[in-house]
């Protein structure tokens, strides 16, 4: 996984947009829902436990987006 990975770029874009629209780090549940959706692009058959890196990334990017 590198910085140009399409999923990572999508996560960055979505995190920035959510931040722009007012979503904050305290909205952890929403960040998790977003991360879950992104994770499903990678592991569609593995919905119960999303990759921790995606959840961390989405939360961090939502903060950056602010």
């Amino acid at each position: 996984m590198n910085a140009n990975d399409p999923l990572r770029r999508l996560a960055q874009e979505r995190g920035r947009i959510l931040g722009e629209l007012g979503v904050k780090p305290e909205d952890a549940r929403w960040a998790r829902a977003e991360a879950d959706a992104l994770a499903s692009l990678v592991t569609p058959a593995f919905p119960l436990r999303l990759p921790a890196w995606v959840a961390r990334l989405a939360r961090r990017l939502a903060r950056i987006g602010r």
Binding site: R14, I17, L18, L21, G22, V23, D27, W30, A33, E34
Partner: protein, 350 residues
């Protein structure tokens, strides 16, 4: 002259064909009729959880609408929450309505948003989406003064009311004064169809036709039986356009009972069919057209008051016909020329 390319942005409510859906389709058609290369872009808004509202806004924000098919898009016209979250350097908004549950409906039985932390954040984020999406537009229009006033009151954002004719303009026709009061809309709480139903015992001559489906349909049918008026009430879940035109033409008058309606096509459709409108003091948008004693009857939102108005409608047919004529003159003045010209003008495409 270079072709002007415009995208109309609408929310799709799957399996539903409400006023908003018809409005964006008609707007697109009217733009095309005036030589604009226009198309409609819709995304569904399905609310299963609070985050779906924000997710939908983010989806609109994610779109790159600056070009399509290798050609630039000259402007977008956003119409309702959350379409105006879309980014475009030449965005014009013609606001049908905001997410009302977060604003004027909050704290009423018509909003399911509570004081919970998640719902509080939902309201805050909806307001932020509105601020971001609306204030970056080149110009904001509203489809009624009621919608414009709400936007100013809750968001401090100014807009100009821009009226337009109802969907079947040019096809409505008058008819004799019939023996039914017509009600059209979704059978749900804030539309208050029950107000008219509960009024019928107070007006023994009146018969009512309800057109529309919704979550309150079964309850209303049961209630008609309990009130002893089932024999005077007809429910029709959906009708085609021709049947709708006939129902208007054959009605005695048309009732509009919703509380705080944005604009509402029904009064305008009634007027273009030469029918007076019975509505309530808290109707919102309809009151921009319905004047008590001139184009209809405006009463308190109580069944007894509607009942009195219905008795009047059945005892004074000549006055009712005069009100319908006055309404027709008022509504006939509306055309698509003005809104289309103003929208294109705001986008620098006139």
């Amino acid at each position: 002259m270079k072709a002007r390319r415009v995208l109309v942005l609408g929310v799709q409510t799957p399996f539903s064909r409400g006023g908003a859906e018809r409005h964006v389709r008609r707007l697109t058609e009217e733009l095309v009729a005036r030589g604009v290369e226009a198309d409609l872009v819709t995304l569904p808004l399905v609310e299963k959880q609070r985050f779906d509202l924000i997710r939908s806004a983010a989806a609109w924000r994610s779109l790159d609408l600056s070009e399509a098919g290798g050609q630039p898009v000259d402007a977008v016209i956003a119409t309702r929450f959350p379409t105006y979250a879309a980014r475009h350097p030449n965005k014009v908004v013609w606001l049908i309505h905001q997410y009302r549950q977060a604003y004027d409906q909050y704290g009423t039985p018509y909003s399911d948003l509570t004081a919970s932390p998640e719902d509080r954040r939902t309201r805050e984020v909806v307001a932020e989406i509105d601020r971001v999406g609306l204030t970056e537009a080149r110009r904001i229009f509203a489809n009624s003064q009621t919608v414009a006033a709400r936007l100013l009151r809750f968001n401090g954002i100014r807009s100009e009311a821009l009226y337009h004719p109802p969907p079947l303009a040019g096809r409505y026709r008058g008819g004799k004064l019939g023996d039914t009061v017509l009600w059209i809309g979704r059978l749900e709480s804030w539309k208050r169809p029950g107000l008219l139903l509960e009024a019928l015992p107070h007006a023994p001559e009146a018969r009512a036709v309800f057109v529309g489906g919704g979550p309150d349909a079964e309850r209303l049918r049961r209630r008609a039986g309990e009130l002893g008026v089932a024999g005077r009430v007809t429910f029709r879940e959906s009708v085609d356009d021709e049947t709708l035109l006939s129902l208007y033409a054959d009605a005695r008058l048309v009732a509009v009972t919703a509380s705080g309606e944005d604009l509402g096509y029904v009064p305008l459709e009634a007027f273009l069919s030469g029918k007076a409108v019975l509505t309530t003091e808290d109707a919102g948008g309809p009151l921009e057209f319905v004047r008590d004693g001139e184009t209809g009857l405006v009463v308190a939102p109580r069944p007894e008051a509607l009942g009195v108005a219905l008795r009047l409608a059945w005892s004074r047919p000549e006055a009712l016909a005069a009100m319908g004529d006055a309404g027709r003159r008022r509504a006939a003045a509306l055309s698509w020329d003005e809104p289309v010209a103003k929208l294109l003008g705001a986008a620098g495409l006139a």
